[in-house]
């Protein structure tokens, strides 16, 4: 009750922040973050726990009463700045911390839906983000909230006032670096809690990296490049080289090899490892870079104590399709053939659903989660793709006569069987719920194009749906067998994350504007609500004062509307927005 009075007082002030700095709000400890999945009254990590299973043990809202889920309030991000909203909010002591497009963040009083503070990053001229101006969420520790901005900075704000505590540079935005992922906070014995960030950047010349900082000061503790030949750092000095120089890259191409870690990472308190996905290699033309090109399009496991890579596994070695495999790696315990396996799962851009041993990266299984995959005939028993040479895009240099050259239709498209949007793992059903898309792409060698004033041969591509009636496909998959248990088909491509609960529900949003809830066993659609703009973010649920809440950020955008092609037909009418919606089952209805 005390807290509510504080909140009411604070929100009645025009700038509540100053009055807010009292002891009413407890600091967030590292133990709170590690135990986030089981503490239902707060959400202090991206993914509802460091493993990012996006599973809540809450069961107040279930299959029988979901029909009574109604909105409580909606909060507008305001301004002219809308575009894609891909953020997952955090919840602590009755306050929601939510980030929005154009590197903005708000603290909102959940009891009233009123703003407590707003932080608006001043973005410099000269940032050219490749793929919309999204942000995916914040991290919280102690009395601070942290988030990354489009100019490749990480900012620590006082969680009660929104004032900047420190601000550090992840990369040089003028060199093509950016930042959109939620930071990851992990415990270490040597350094205490560290805040880990990846990096974004699509241009040739970018090197993927994971950086670890002291959350109090922002000082860098270690950094680890993802591309072999590059040196890591530890406590301000060079530490070790990633991999072996020129093992899987020709010439000096390892200096600019790509492999951006733009989706952030997950952490497993059991193995004490941080897992990051790495993006596609550069340059795009695979004929110029013979070899596997490590560690691009891979999952890597990093020891947070010193930033050393413990293992790496490439999903698409020598990628030639832009299968930018940053996809999240979700640790979970899997019962297979009567044994418990310390596993991890990843649904890759390339269309295969991988299960690895999370202690050592050894391959366990891979199965397709989208239909008609063409780039590989399958994944062999060692976890290597069985390439189909006919379906590798041609070398642009071979069409020097100025003709269109070889054209290839590849499935999935470069936007992936699954893109950034996180899947969920249910501890109730033991199934993964994967937001996927059924689409392919034509790739051809373009006659002539120009880059920075000079003629060269590039590639052209266009994305095409595979089926007439749908692209989006939410699938329930049994990780032990790879069997698809059910599928929900959606006309527009799915671009939002998934949440599942002990109440037997699976939540996800659609570009058409609906937040939907499905039966976790059958896939039956049990509930939907039209939010008025497309949804491309990840839902959350928590408990406050004995009631279960659900929230989703809304606002159409992200990479899909930037690409067009035939996909544009099913999304071009969608309107932009920018808000967060909060729902609950009213008390009198919940009891029934």
């Amino acid at each position: 009750m005390q807290r509510k009075i504080w909140l009411a007082l604070a929100s009645s002030l025009s700038v509540g922040a100053v009055a807010f700095a009292g002891s009413a709000n407890a600091d967030v400890g590292i133990a709170d973050i590690m135990g986030d999945q089981s503490t239902t009254e707060d959400i202090v990590s991206y993914g509802l726990g460091p493993r990012a299973q996006r599973y809540s043990p809450l069961a107040t809202i279930d299959k029988s009463n979901i029909k009574n889920l109604f909105p409580v309030w909606s909060f507008s991000f305001g301004g002219e700045k809308q575009r894609g909203q891909e953020s997952q909010p955090l919840i602590k002591d009755g306050v929601m911390y939510v980030t929005g497009s154009y590197s903005r963040m708000w603290a909102i009083d959940i009891a009233t839906g009123e703003e407590l503070w707003q932080y608006d990053a001043r973005l410099p001229e000269g940032i050219l983000p490749c793929c919309d101006v999204v942000n995916r969420g914040a991290a919280i520790l102690g009395d601070k909230v942290f988030f990354g901005t489009l100019d490749a900075k990480i900012v620590a704000l006082d969680k009660d006032t929104g004032k900047v505590v420190w601000r550090k540079t992840i990369g040089d935005y003028e060199a093509g670096y950016s930042y959109t992922a939620a930071p990851l906070i992990v415990p270490t014995e040597k350094h205490g809690p560290l805040i880990l960030t990846g990096n974004s950047g699509g241009e040739f010349g970018v090197i993927g990296e994971v950086q670890a900082r002291n959350p109090e000061t922002g000082e860098m503790v270690w950094s680890r490049p993802t591309i072999e030949g590059n040196m890591g750092t530890l406590m301000g000095a060079e530490s070790t080289m990633t991999g072996t120089k020129n093992e899987s890259w020709p010439g000096d191409m390892w200096k600019n090899g790509g492999g951006a870690t733009w989706l952030g990472g997950t952490y497993d308190p059991d193995t004490k490892l941080a897992y990051f996905g790495t993006g596609n290699p550069a340059p795009w033309n695979s004929y110029l870079r013979a070899g596997d090109n490590k560690w691009t399009s891979a999952r890597i496991a990093i020891d947070p104590e010193d930033g050393e890579i413990k293992w790496g596994y490439q999903t698409t070695p020598h990628d030639g399709w832009d299968y930018d495999g940053v996809n999240e790696f979700i640790p979970f315990d899997m019962e297979k053939d009567g044994k418990m396996v310390k596993a991890g799962a990843s649904a890759d851009r390339n269309g295969f659903f991988y299960i690895l041993d999370r202690t050592n990266g050894e391959f366990i299984s891979a199965s397709p989660f989208v239909q008609n995959i063409t780039w590989a005939k399958g994944i062999d028993e060692n976890g290597k793709p069985i390439f189909d040479p006919d379906n590798r895009p041609g070398n642009p240099a071979e069409s020097a006569d100025g003709k269109k050259g070889k054209s290839v239709f590849a499935i999935p498209s470069f936007l992936g069987g699954k893109n950034w949007m996180p899947m969920a793992y249910s501890q109730s059903t033991k199934h993964f719920y994967i937001p996927s898309n059924e689409w392919g792409m034509d790739i051809w060698n373009e006659p002539v194009t120009y880059k920075k004033g000079a003629a060269y041969l590039g590639s052209g591509f266009t994305i095409k749906p595979i089926f007439d009636d749908y692209i989006g496909s939410l699938k329930a998959i049994d990780p032990a067998t790879g069997d698809i248990k059910w599928e929900y088909k959606n006309k527009a491509p799915l671009w939002g994350g998934v949440l599942t609960t002990a109440g037997g529900l699976v939540f996800t949003g659609t570009p058409e504007g609906y937040l939907k809830a499905f039966d976790d066993e059958t896939g039956e659609e049990l509930w939907k609500f039209q939010t008025g703009t497309g949804i491309v973010s990840s839902p959350i649920t928590w408990e406050q004062d004995g009631e279960q809440y659900v929230a989703i950020v809304t606002g159409w955008g992200g990479a899909v509307p930037l690409w067009g092609g035939e996909v544009a037909k099913v999304v071009s009418y969608l309107n932009q927005g920018g808000s967060v919606w909060v729902f609950k089952v009213p008390e009198q209805l919940a009891a029934r």
Binding site: V133, E174, G205, D252, N256, L288, K451, G453, A454
Partner: protein, 293 residues
């Protein structure tokens, strides 16, 4: 001089043949605010887009803009009687992207566009597939070349030399693309890629490489500033290169072509008086008229 005037007529002809499709596109799109000639004269200001880190054409140093394209922008502004603003940004993945970001749609964050893009390669195919921008007024000819240190390599007749000798190039440029593919990848181990053109020049200046590949104007610039090296420009056969030369012009928004025509005329005047050639010469670059066929 006659060549430029010829090119002006050529562009006019091309534009009229595209007029029908462009009218359609005008109806479809409520264009982002375009600035035809009248508005620019009324406002008394014009904005030129030029590439950053692109010596000798355009770069910034100590908050000042430098280069051939910058000088051309100011010469054109002076002739128009308006103030000149420079919008300097890095190159995107290709010319089509540059036209979108800098001429007709703007960037995602600040939505800023320029009235004119300088240094837009003049190519009818690119023009045809970009309905919201128009390529006009080719004003000089670009080629690929190598700047070579005479002491290290007295004569350069073939790129085969670079199987054993290192060569610098700016990362992810036409030169990089050519060298990476040349002789079935046999030069791969010899390529020293600079993150920027300035980095590549650094490799040459510091004697780390005996040669550097870039556009002809860029190599002439390097020869001029690398005073400690005795440099010459070579253009050995480039098997597999997509184009050995191409004309460079400017781009305007599809509904600002009157501005484009005016600038064509002004460029012709600059050429007639020799001012255009003088701008190039200031940077050690020989002016070559556009070759159109």
């Amino acid at each position: 001089m006659t060549r430029l005037k010829h090119s002006v007529r050529y562009v006019a002809h091309l534009a009229s043949s595209l007029a029908i499709s462009l009218t359609v596109s005008l109806c479809l799109l409520q264009a982002s605010h375009a600035r035809p000639l009248d508005e620019i004269i009324d406002a008394g200001r014009i904005t030129f887009f030029v590439y950053s880190d692109y010596a000798p054409y355009s770069w910034s140093e100590a908050d000042e803009y430098h280069g051939i394209d910058v000088d051309i922008a100011f010469a054109l502004g002076k002739k128009l009687g308006v103030e000149v603003d420079i919008l300097m940004r890095g190159a995107d993945e290709n010319l089509d992207d540059d036209l979108r970001v800098n001429i007709w749609k703007g960037d995602l964050i600040h939505r800023k566009v320029a009235d004119v893009m300088l240094h837009a390669p003049y190519d009818p195919e690119v023009n045809a597939r970009n309905e919201f921008a128009v390529l006009m007024a080719p004003y000089f000819q670009e080629k690929m070349a190598v700047v070579v240190d005479r002491k290290a390599i007295p004569e350069l007749k073939s790129f085969g030399r670079f199987v054993t000798n290192p060569i610098a190039v700016e990362l992810d440029t036409a030169g990089d693309f050519f060298l990476s593919n040349a002789f079935r990848g046999q030069l791969q181990d010899s390529i020293r890629r600079g993150r920027t053109f300035a980095d590549a020049i650094g490799l040459y200046m510091d004697n780390e490489v005996p040669a550097l590949m870039a556009s002809r104007a860029q190599t002439e610039w390097v020869a001029k500033i690398a005073t400690k090296r005795d440099s010459y420009i070579a253009q050995p056969p480039m098997p597999g290169i997509v184009r050995t030369g191409w004309p460079i012009g400017l781009a305007v928004k599809h509904d600002s072509r009157d501005l484009g025509y005016e600038l064509q005329e002004l460029l012709s005047q600059l050429l007639d008086t020799g001012e255009l050639q003088a701008i190039f010469e200031q940077y050690g670059v020989e002016y070559l008229p556009p070759e159109l066929n």
